[in-house]
Amino acid sequence: EHEVEKMFTLKPGRLPQADVKNVIFFVRPRLELMDIITDNVLREDRGRAPQRDFHILFVPRRSLLCEQWLKEQGVLGSFIHREQYSLDLIPFDGDLLSMESESAFKECYLESDQTSLYHAAKGLMTLQALYGTIPQIFGKGECARHVANMMIRMKREFPGSQNSIFPVFDTLLLLDRNVDLLTPLATQLTYEGLIDEIYGIQNTYVKLPPEKFAPKKQGDGGKDLPTEPKKLQLNSAEELYAEIRDKNFNAVGSVLSKKAKIISAAFEERHHAKTVGEIKQFVSQLPHMQAARSSLANHTSIAELIKDITTSEDFFDNLTVEQEFMSGIDTDKVNNYIEDCIAQKHPLIKILRLVCLQSVCNSGLKQKVLDYYKKEILQTYGYEHILTLNNLEKAGLLKSQTSGRNNYPTIRKTLRLWMDDVNEQNPNDISYVYSGYAPLSVRLAQLLARPGWRSIEEVLKMLPGPHFEERQQLPTGLQKKRQHGENRVTLVFFLGGVTYAEIAALRFLSQMEDGGTEYVIATTKLINGTSWIKSLMEKLEPAPF
């Protein structure tokens, strides 16, 4: 429609051939990307006719640093347009928005760079322009306070932004990731969470090993197995996925087999179709049935892949240690399993996740224990990781118990973070997403809705950062008159990232019959323990240029 000829992904080297006049670079303002663009532009054939014009669009904002960088490389002048596309929040699903700013947590807590918070506030202003002013703002944490302040300031400075849209959201809850450092460290046990833990979901897509997806034909003898990873999109548009994504993995198998029976029964019906009308009806349903069948086949394969891993001894041992820590067992001494993993040189990220988990569950490790872990890690993985360890300490993930007091048991008991009787098949509590551990962040959201934070003042004081409440006045005409039985809508904004398991837990709360609150989730980035720790690690390879 806009006569866009082709879309290319950014990579170094010559630009692909295309008979077009305009080339637009659509980029995040990052210096590495600027280098690639420079390379592209410099290799452009000057002699070709017609000359191509270059334009650059920064998402979400123009960056002075990037433009200056381009200038130093001598290519800034090649761009006829330099613009920005203020895309702050990207919709991922019907109830999920993400800024996809992977370094937000690191920037806020390690580099005291709050630009991402500024963007979050801007995104929230845009959201309010679309869906009405949010009358109530709650928050917990340093960053949450900042964002709320910025929103209030932006509103004050531009009184014209007062709009007349009936508010969709009743409440905004801003939560700092560092209020709940524990949750992302634990292994997620929902279906979607496990896919993310094991294969990593990138922008709703996942790449899977192809073996299980080979078309099964007789006599094929597995000659030409596909070698490309299988790429699948995962979102709620797929009926089956929407149903199973947020379930505990242990409950997925039975759903899949039930579905299989229904589908084969449906296909069987063709034998009963006698009249032309019946056959016609059957045929009209075919596309839908076939889609359902292929979706079922895909998810059965994925579930098999995951099961191979979840039934492995190491997964079980790892999970056992995690659960011991979260329920408060033996968090104050050197753990044998962690020691063994270091000796066997398991991936460093796995070690760091466990050590950090232990530290968080003990409100910091004893100095002796911390020193021991540090020494083992540095000797086995290299001294340069002292930088990573230092980052983790700065972020509060790893620390020594200074006060000599372990607050975690109090927090655990008050917020009921550990539930011994978990029902994974038909859950009655959010703790099903981690098979026992109820994510702290979601507990805070749950308790805010009912009975309110006043009941947990003590615990809130133990968690880092201030907690607060703000109100934004609405014109009288827009104030909601709540009808009986109507649900409140709360927007929960996770500053510093959110996991799929936490999303699952919030969706579970939305669906509770007597919940009374529905949740929409926004975040700076979808994370899991591995990607999160990775974002905090020092990049140790020297830059490629």
Binding site: E1, N22, I24, L31, D53, L57, R61, R62, S63, L64, L65, Q68, W69, K71, L76, H81, E83, Q84, S86, L87, P91, D93, G94, D95, S112, D113, Q114, T115, Y118, K122, M125, T126, A129, L130, M154, E157, P159, G160, S161, N163, V168, A237, A343, D371, K375, L378, Q379, T380, Y381, G382, Y383, E384, I386, L387, N390, G485, N487, E518, P542, A543
Partner: protein, 490 residues
Amino acid sequence: MSRARADEEEYWHSSKFRAFTFDDEDDELSQLKESKRAVNSLRDIVDDDDDDLEKVSWSGEPVGSISWSIKETASSSTSSLESRDSGLPKGSSSYTALPKQASSYSLSSLFKGRNKLPSFQSLSDALSDTGVKNYAPELRRPRAEYKDYSSDWSPKDTVRRMQRGKVCSLERFRSLQDKLVLLDEAVAGNDGNVITAVLIFLKRTLRKEILFRELEVRQVALCHLIHFLKETGEQKLLLDLFSLCLSFLSLQLSQYREHLNIQDVEKRKEFLKGCIGLPFSAEDASHIQDHYTLLERQIIIEASDRQLERAGQSEIFRKYPRKASILNMPLVTTLFYSCFYHYTEAEGTFSSPTNLKKTFKIPDKQYVLTALAARAKLRAWNDIDALFTTKNWLGYTKKKAPIGFHRVVEILQRNNAPVQVLQEYVRLVEDVESRLNLATKYKCHDVVIDTYRDLKDRIQLAAYRCKVERGSAEEEKIDSILNNMVRNTA
């Protein structure tokens, strides 16, 4: 599902709010329009006078803006969306006109800019060098333009404008006092882009000693500057900054980090040596010291081993050529390497495992594990035997393993140790249960049989008889034990 829920559903799916689905291009378009509408209604936040005719004039206005001059085509997201919507050709034509300074509006503004800012130093000299003389026609001064170039904005307003992506002159802030107020405003605004912009301006206009001194009390800004220098690779300035600021900040690690950018090992070693003297915490200091010592060692070992390997005299290097250099490897890897190639060397040499163990205070456990893995790989079973043998003062020998013999067995098994070797260590596993498990798993028949014999478990022994080969020595052994047991009990 309640009625409200259904409504909710309908709300998400209704076409009006399609912005939240990823269906197809059409939707993305409507999504764009949606956000455009949103941005329009946000006009005041994003930009205040976008559609005015005057806009063109000031966007052609480069004068007085230094670093900001590169933003001369600045326009808000609104206009970027518009140009997207209306197709590019139109947009580009209106913009290509700019560099030529064809518009009379821009001439006027250039003129005016000159007057108001007599002492500008411009980065964008190309635009401001010629053609701008005093005779520019005095046109009607657009209101907005007037506002734009009034030079008496407070630092606060300047920061606000910069946040909105507008062209701003920072040159007016000439006194140190003004500059610092500006910086503080930028920091208060939380927008990294603006903070960095101000810092670039300060970096250019202030002596670095003064700048660094002022940043001492402005941690946030300092972090931004460090990050900026890191990103742009200005190593020298960065190190200057570190050396000046070390006294009051915990920047030691940031300086230490710089060693990663040094490719040459000798230089890297020297750099690390320099780091040792920095005021680290006691804990960190010992790690850094170790890092230096390790690299120093590795350089020595690497030089001599490379020579050995080339000469082809040493059997071990001929049989097992090295896969990679040992430089920059972790300590445990280095220990493995030295257990592999230099196991028998005397403690005095740098490359001997015992020397490494002593120098770096490697715990017993770690040492034994590594040595075991290395020697097992070489199938040097005698060395392994010696590793676990301790003599007491009477001269008796005893087997001891700080890691537990079940781990020893695991590692040996992974290295395909023969059954004879394996069973010797299975026998040493203390816990009877796990000894039986391991022995059964790895078919160490002797151990199983002996264990059952010691337990006087006839039934299990008889059952195990079926698992050994017919007519083998093991079968005979079981039979004789069973017979003996009968005789004894009878």
